[in-house]
């Protein structure tokens, strides 16, 4: 990292606490709770109580930093007496470089859906996202940068992955822009007006695709790099399969006014499209997309990201599925969704500040234990915290954290950095980022392995036999459970006593102390391995790593 970038990041972090805390929005979390409670009505008597400190700690770590806390963090948080310790924890974690990493993973999947590498290096694209998130770049700006990028400016090339990895395929790209930025899957409107959903009109689909219709992939004859060129003419036409009528449309965002081209100029090009030159028109339809999609008039843009952030934190969207926002599928809490969307507009699309408010709400902080569930309580009433399956990335990092791999890798890097520069201080923000990058680079191959096994195309949880086999029998985890280097297994063996080992195991893997019953149960399990303690400890750890309590954020 250059000094200039480090300085910039340092500056960003120095001023951030104030930004995160916000000013007028201090009570937003109370407004959230009020609206959720109002909608619950009589059901509110079945609302679960507030989560315990350890429940909250694990949940916040997973939601903000994408991994479970270390065992020392668990005991420290339990012991802390300050009344506002939850608030302080949230504010600290939101500024941790791990938070940027976690949000990178989330946004990467949201934007790219794990598409393979094409034209742009995935590592560079992720680095662009990571750096943007460290700066808390505003969501509207991030989206604008992504949609404006043509891949021709070397420094900005990574941002073009959104369009280039889709090869500018007009159908895929139009559909994804609708789903990801507007919360609407317009695919059904492609062939004809959607038979059952009034607002999915065919012209909206083609109005959106008209922004991109004149753009094309251009390969530079010398560098062989692919970027986006555009022509100054060409209309999007479509034929309804019902009426056979042919229609045409100018670029148009949902119900906003159509954007007619300015009067034609004699020379419409800055650079004429030729075989060896990339076409650049004086008036670009594609470049109208970013300002229009992020404009204040386009309410769908902020409703969509508000709903997506809510779903990320709360485990389900106010509109479900997330890409089916339309009049036949209204939000469970319309006023709340509008409130969150307005907050985003007011704060200039500050995702970090909105997440902070969501997390500070009592709605978020409820226990996942149900007070009653007969008859089944509606999940959309938010009476208890949702069970959220860990993403492949969360599961990978949490497993590595639990077995001690994160800690040993981190210590190795700190030692190395200190050797290079004895004043290295992992508590300094710029150096913390440097350290996080180093740990990440060392362990990312394992994260990729988890992604290959656990990633699912669907948004919903789908547990498969091959995933279970990976956890139960896979060599990677077997290797991680071999005692070495101060890792979990070595520590467990050093305790030399089944009770102490049980406590250590629960604190480290499940981020809480065991109950008396659990203590007894695990001591009994280990008792069967008196003559082979190592196998006993390994098996106990592996069983807990395979447990639902570990697999879910609860």
């Amino acid at each position: 990292m250059t000094n200039a970038v480090q300085l910039a990041l340092l500056f960003a972090f120095t001023i951030l606490p104030a930004t995160v805390a916000g000013t007028e929005s201090a009570l937003l979390h109370e407004q959230i709770d009020a609206r959720i409670a109002a909608a619950q009505g009589e059901l509110s008597s079945s609302a679960s109580p507030r989560s315990s400190d350890t429940e909250f700690l694990r949940r916040v770590y997973l939601d903000v930093t994408g991994r479970i806390p270390g065992r020392h963090e668990v005991t420290a948080f339990q012991d802390e007496e300050a009344g506002d310790k939850r608030l302080k924890l949230v504010d600290r974690l939101l500024l941790d470089p791990w938070h940027a990493r976690h949000m990178l993973y989330h946004l990467d999947v949201m934007l790219m859906g794990r598409l393979p590498e094409k034209h742009i290096k995935v590592a560079q694209w992720r680095d662009y996202l990571y750096t943007s998130l460290l700066e808390n770049k505003r969501f509207n700006q991030l989206v604008a940068e992504i949609l404006l990028a043509d891949g021709a400016v070397p420094d900005e090339r990574p941002r073009a992955r959104f369009l280039l990895a889709r090869e500018l395929n007009i159908d895929d790209t139009t559909r994804d822009i609708g789903r990801i930025f507007l919360g609407r899957d317009l695919q059904c409107a492609q062939c004809h007006d959607h038979p059952s959903i009034d607002d999915y009109l065919q012209r909206r689909y083609y109005g959106l695709s008209a922004f991109l219709g004149r753009s094309y992939l251009f390969q530079d004859p010398e560098t062989k790099e692919t970027s986006i060129g555009e022509k100054a003419e060409g209309e999007v036409t479509f034929t309804s399969v019902f009426t056979d009528e042919e229609s045409t449309t100018a670029p148009r965002l949902l119900e906003l006014a159509a954007l007619d081209d300015p009067p034609a100029e004699e020379e419409p090009y800055v650079t004429k499209p030729e075989e060896k030159t990339r076409g650049v028109p004086k008036y670009s339809r594609r470049l109208q997309l970013a300002p229009n999609i992020t404009s204040e008039e386009n309410v769908a843009f902020r409703m969509n990201i508000a709903n997506r952030l809510w779903a990320l934190v709360m485990g389900r969207g106010l509109v479900e599925p997330l890409d089916m926002m339309h009049t036949d599928n209204p939000p469970s809490h319309p006023e709340l969704l509008a409130l969150l969307a307005d907050e985003l507009l007011r704060t200039g699309y500050d995702m970090r500040s909105l997440m902070r408010q969501l997390i500070l709400s009592e709605t978020y902080q409820r226990s996942s234990r149900l007070v009653a569930n007969d008859p089944p309580l509606p999940e959309s009433a938010y009476l208890a915290a949702a069970l959220k399956p860990l993403t492949p990335e969360q599961l990978a990092w949490s497993t590595m954290q639990a077995v001690g791999l994160v800690e040993t890798t981190r210590s190795e890097h700190i030692a190395r950095f200190k050797e290079e520069d004895p004043s290295f201080d992992p508590n300094d923000m710029a150096q913390a980022i440097q350290l996080e990058r180093a740990v990440h680079d060392s362990l990312q191959p394992h994260v990729d392995t988890f992604v290959a096994v656990f990633a699912s195309k669907a948004d919903r949880f789908s547990a498969t036999a091959s995933q279970a086999l990976f956890l139960e029998n896979g060599e990677l985890i077997t290797e991680w459970l071999t005692p070495s280097n101060g890792n979990l297994l070595e520590r467990l063996l050093q305790t030399g006593d089944a009770e102490a080992a049980t406590r250590e195991l629960y604190l480290t893997v499940l981020s809480r102390p065991p109950t008396d019953e659990e203590l007894e149960q695990l001591v009994a399990f280990l008792g069967a391995y008196d003559d082979d303690q190592m196998t006993g400890m390994t098996e106990a750890t592996r069983a807990i790593l395979c447990s639902a309590e570990f697999r879910f954020n609860h």
């Binding site: 990976f470 029998n473 309590e549």
Partner: protein, 422 residues
């Protein structure tokens, strides 16, 4: 109440007795069986298990290029019909092998789903209910009521190349959910970690199950149940590794070496070994462009392996106890679009059924001369759902007896296609 009918738990005896057609329910009285009487009860109780083979032509096969051809008409397309082993039944010339086994099958040519959406059509055909409602797929229903409690094999296996995500079990226990196999290769990590004995592995599994039970006691169960089920499926695969041994060259000569041929061969093995529902997906029928060229390729790939599988199941004497269904989420428009394609069309299309409980060689319903609408015996996914289950001897008019709820198995508003049942 008698035990020892091959079932391990009271729960299962109850459910079988509730749902197998014609069972003496007098002792329970909780569920009315609505007078339905099937022919299969005695066999089933003797331990002759019934099962279902689903061949899903994903994307929507064209009825005009398969079961309901209209050669020489405005929308008929370029292909001719051929006679089949059933006098009077003609199907498209793209299915010569299947035509020779037509006497084992029947056709329903009058399906109108009133939806042209892939997802909605698929859900309607699988759940017998329109829309997104939380109902189990036919495979999960069959797995619940027909599979032995101690089933060593996964009850409901889906062999498919790529993932369509299905929530098949809905409110039924997650152990009846579909297990997806990606092709015919053994999953990774089928062996226990080295040096771990079977007993130690079992002890760990037991401990894990215990932890989960404690964790679930006061939390929402659905996701955790599905997580638990994935471990049970894993255990079943670990004990059935030989399923994935190399497929015999001789059999591959008969079935074909392409993916679908291999899937059909694995399906036969799974049916022989005792899976209750085996679903094989053949991808790639969504032919918005070049419908005719694509159907030549697709059906060429489908025809021989399917016919071979059907004949093998029959030769092994298993067809009387195996319901076979060849289906899609919808058919394709009679009208040919400007890209020589046919588009989505749920309004007048066909499927093939055969085997257990199905009258062989029958044709139910008809479309008009151009194939643009159903003119006789219109049915939808609801009628078909009742028909599949009743063919298997399950009383689809009874209720799922879920704690605290009684949920009709099939849509009470519609009935089975009685004339199709044997």
């Amino acid at each position: 109440m008698k035990r020892g009918l091959g079932c391990q738990t009271i729960d299962h005896v109850l459910s079988r007795r509730h749902f197998l057609a014609g069972t003496a329910v007098a002792g329970f009285g909780a569920v009315s069986l609505g007078g339905f009487s099937g022919p299969v009860l005695a066999d089933t109780l003797k331990g002759d298990e019934k099962r279902i083979l689903q061949v899903y032509l994903q994307g929507g096969v064209s009825q005009l290029e398969s079961w309901d051809p209209k050669p020489g008409t405005e929308y008929g397309g370029p292909f001719q019909t051929i006679p089949t082993s059933v006098p009077g039944i003609h199907i498209c010339e793209l299915l010569p092998h299947t035509a020779r086994h037509m006497h084992l099958l029947s056709l329903v040519r009058s399906i109108n789903l009133k939806t042209d959406d892939h997802h909605q059509g698929r859900l309607f055909m699988e759940k017998g209910r329109r829309g997104e409602g939380n109902y189990p797929y036919v495979g999960s229903v069959v797995a619940k009521y027909l599979s032995p409690e101690d089933s060593a094999l996964p009850r409901y296996v889906h062999i498919s190349t790529r993932g369509l995500e299905d929530d098949t079990a809905a409110f039924l226990d997650a152990r009846y959910a579909q297990m997806k196999l990606e092709g015919v290769v053994a999953p990774n990590n089928l062996s226990r970690p080295r040096q771990l004995s079977e007993e130690q592995f079992a002890r760990r599994s037991h401990f894990r199950a215990q932890l989960n039970q404690q964790f679930t006691s006061d939390r929402r169960k659905a996701l955790i149940d599905s997580y638990d089920a994935s471990f049970r499926q894993a255990a079943q695969l670990m004990s059935q590794r030989d399923l994935f041994e190399k497929q015999s060259e001789k059999e591959l000569d008969r079935y074909g070496r392409h993916e679908f041929g291999r899937y059909c061969l694995l399906a036969r093995t799974l049916l022989e070994e005792g899976s209750t529902c085996v679903k094989v997906t053949h991808h790639g029928y969504d032919t918005h462009a070049e419908n005719f060229n694509f159907h030549v390729e697709q059906l060429d790939e489908f025809d021989k392996p399917f016919a071979t599988l059907l004949a093998d199941v029959a030769d092994r004497g298993m067809l009387e106890s195996t319901l076979v269904m060849v289906y899609s989420e919808f058919g394709r428009t009679p009208k040919i679009n400007r890209n020589y394609g046919r588009d989505h069309w749920g309004s007048a299309w066909s499927i093939a059924l055969g085997g257990c409980g199905i009258q062989p060689g029958a044709v139910i319903g008809a479309t008009n001369a151009k194939g643009t609408e159903v003119i006789d015996r219109e049915v939808d996914g609801g009628h078909l759902f009742h028909t599949y289950l009743q063919a298997l001897g399950i009383d689809s008019t009874a209720n799922h007896d879920i704690p605290g709820r009684q949920i009709p198995i099939g849509d009470p508003a519609v009935e089975s296609i009685k004339e199709l049942l044997a």
